[in-house]
């Protein structure tokens, strides 16, 4: 039995992570700064970026049990000194995190609803997605980029939905479902998320 000397490994393009429990590799089409770490290649299970770049991460970032699902042609960008713990990022176009963004356990960030609201289109989508379906026949699904600016704190199990811009230093309370922009320095809580006085709520 081998005991890993550290829980984390320096993230690098194409890396086979030593002692990784998941039989995978870090993709080649990523760009990483210094001292950015990850625990397992499992993070890239749904990384399908086909372009020259699907993920750009700055320096001193921690990625722990975080799903980096990137569609073909999509890009996730993460600044410096971010900490993502057990987050799920599902990106069909663009998700951007600034620097010093703290993402607590269980957070979901998406830039698409993944399926149409319209009933006819949604039924078509289920047919295209069925095991023998033709995924090329999926209806067009709108994506709207998500931007999380510097020093934003996102609480446990919160959700950030498509098109949302979270301003510098804003705080998303645990469990909040954020579907509208959050102005810099403001706090939001609840489902749907509403503004609360800074320091209040959970």
């Amino acid at each position: 039995m081998t005991m890993p000397t550290s829980r984390f490994h320096i993230l690098a393009p194409g890396l086979a992570i030593p002692g990784d429990w998941h039989p995978g590799r870090v993709p080649n089409n990523i760009e990483v700064g210094q001292n950015t770490v990850i625990d397992s290649s499992f993070s890239f299970l749904h990384y399908e970026a086909t372009g020259p770049l699907g993920l750009r991460v700055g320096s001193n970032v921690t990625l722990w049990r975080t799903a980096l699902s990137v569609g073909p042609g999509a890009v996730i960008e993460i600044g410096n000194y971010c900490y993502l713990a057990n987050a799920s990022l599902a990106c069909t176009e663009r998700i951007t995190l600034g620097s010093y963004v703290l993402v607590a356990n269980g957070v979901t960030i998406v830039d698409s609803d993944f399926h149409p609201i319209d009933v006819d289109a949604r039924i078509m989508d289920t047919i295209a997605l069925s095991p023998t379906g033709d995924r090329g026949k999926r209806p067009r699904i709108e994506a709207r980029p998500v931007v999380i600016e510097d020093c934003v704190r996102i609480g446990f199990n919160a959700t950030i939905l498509k098109g949302v811009n979270v301003g510098t230093g804003a705080v998303i309370a645990p469990g909040a479902v954020v579907s509208r922009d959050v102005a810099p320095g403001r706090w939001v809580a609840g489902s749907p998320a509403r503004e609360i006085p800074p320091g209040e709520g959970s």
Binding site: S6, R7, N60, C82, Y83, L102, G106, N157, G190
Partner: protein
């Protein structure tokens, strides 16, 4: 020093730390969720008789202690503990629920938060040192915590109560109620069990 115990058939290449105390027939399915136990307390985790932990993630600082009562089922929640989380007997804790005695920088100033993140980046194990004092969490007997819920530091959930899915519990919950929503409200009151029905028998 006590030997580290390997779980038979464990898919994850880890161990049960020697300061985990397992009661009779207590079960932990995999060591995957034990990889982030930094606690040196003895014991750091008590799993009483007949309790089960199924891919629960324990994220524990050096002084953390989690106590789990008999016949309690932890079905893939996250327990984040710098000091004390106490879960009673006959509780159900569902997947994706977070129970934490520690605020992760939420209430700090931007500068203090940046300092915490810089410190974590300088640590090879990337521990997030809490800046606020942990506040012990108590989940009393026969509580059911729904999936995706968050139980915040300092909270006590009263005996027999039910926390609906995705509820954020930021205040004490009285015994024998159902709460739901975000922000939460009491949606139902429950009858306390009759004397002859009250739990207390632990199957051997």
């Amino acid at each position: 020093m006590m030997p580290l115990i390997r779980i038979p058939g464990d898919w994850y290449d880890g161990v049960i730390p020697s300061n985990v105390e397992l009661g009779e027939n207590a079960h932990i399915d995999t060591s995957y969720g034990l990889a982030l136990i930094d606690s040196t307390r003895r014991p750091c985790l008590i799993m009483a008789a007949g309790s089960g932990s199924y891919t629960t993630s324990f994220v524990m600082g050096p002084n953390g202690r989690v106590t789990v009562g008999s016949c309690t089922c932890l079905n893939s929640p996250f327990l984040i503990c710098q000091e004390s989380i106490t879960i009673g007997s006959h509780c159900l804790v569902s997947w994706g629920a977070v129970i934490t005695d520690t605020d992760l920088g939420q209430r700090e100033s931007r500068g203090t938060n940046q300092q915490m993140l810089r410190r974590a980046a300088a640590d090879p194990d990337r521990r997030l040192a809490p800046l606020t004092r942990p506040l012990p969490v108590i989940i009393e007997d026969a509580v059911w915590i729904g999936f995706g819920s968050v139980v915040m530091p300092g909270v006590t959930v009263g005996r027999g109560s039910v926390i609906g899915c995705k509820t954020v519990v930021d205040q004490d919950i009285p015994p024998y109620v159902v709460v739901a929503g975000n922000p939460l409200r009491v949606v139902r009151e429950l009858d306390p069990p009759g004397r002859d029905q009250s739990p207390g028998v632990v199957p051997g």
